[in-house]
Amino acid sequence: MKFLRMRPGHGEVLLTEGDPDVREDEERLVEEFRRQLDEGMWAAVPTHTPGSGRRQAVMIHDFDEIPSGADRVIFFPRASGG
């Protein structure tokens, strides 16, 4: 699983990656996930429903909410009224 983050002037950057089933990787992923949320990021996992062609995102508030099998989590700055 990859953690990607949108950055001004860069596009997305890879924060970290690892296998959540491997304990060391999971600890690193959890730590990075918390750091990103502490920095004010929102996290989302893009998903698709097989057969329907419909795609959508699932907003993730806690590491445990990441759908199993998700290959990436995208962090992006939280919204504010413009």
Partner: protein, 184 residues
């Protein structure tokens, strides 16, 4: 007599030249002193924003479906259907999200929303265009209510020209007709 005048003129000129030179140098020094020191501008890589946008486009393409990607590529915006039937949004890069009713084409509201990266304030806070669109798409499809709650809601026309939105809706209808025609 003429020779004397000429000689005197030459002598006067010879005496005046050094004084004139000093005056010119002094004037130059005064002007240089008055001039503001040159501002040192940081080096700006002209390809940086373009490369960032290319990466952002690839990420957007990998997240949205084929129709949405083609819509963005061809028309410059994405239509996102709302959770409530009969309600949809037009998502533009770095412009408010425009809500409308697809059945009638009636414009409902503008939702002004931004995704400023305050942790990157030194390098600018603005995401590449396609990242901004993807952020809106994820926030709308993932948690429409939260995004709408966060945004500042205005009547249509505050930031986005309603005439332009109507033209975009017309372009979208044409585009969809062409695509369905090409498929059948």
């Amino acid at each position: 007599m003429l020779f004397t005048v000429l000689a005197l003129t030459l002598v006067a000129l010879a005496l005046a030249v050094p004084a004139l030179g000093d005056e010119i140098s002094a004037a130059r020094r005064r002007r240089a002193k008055r001039a503001k020191p040159r501002e040192r501008r940081p080096f700006v890589d002209p390809g940086r924003e373009r490369r960032a946008e290319q990466r952002a486009r690839q990420l957007l393409r990998s997240c949205v479906n084929e129709e949405e990607w083609a819509m963005y590529r061809d028309l410059g915006f994405i239509r996102v259907r709302g959770a409530t039937p009969g309600y949809a949004y037009l998502v533009y890069p770095h412009k408010p999200v425009v809500a409308y009713t697809p059945e009638t084409g009636r414009l409902l509201n503008e939702y002004c929303v931004e995704f400023p990266d305050m942790t990157a304030a030194i390098g600018g806070t603005r995401l590449p265009d396609s990242d901004d669109v993807l952020a809106k798409w994820m926030a709308l499809t993932g948690d429409e209510r939260r995004l709408i709650r966060t945004a500042n809601m205005h009547l249509p026309g505050r930031q986005v020209d309603p005439g332009r939105v109507r033209r975009d809706l017309w372009r979208l209808a044409q585009w969809e007709r062409e695509r369905s025609g090409a498929r059948s």
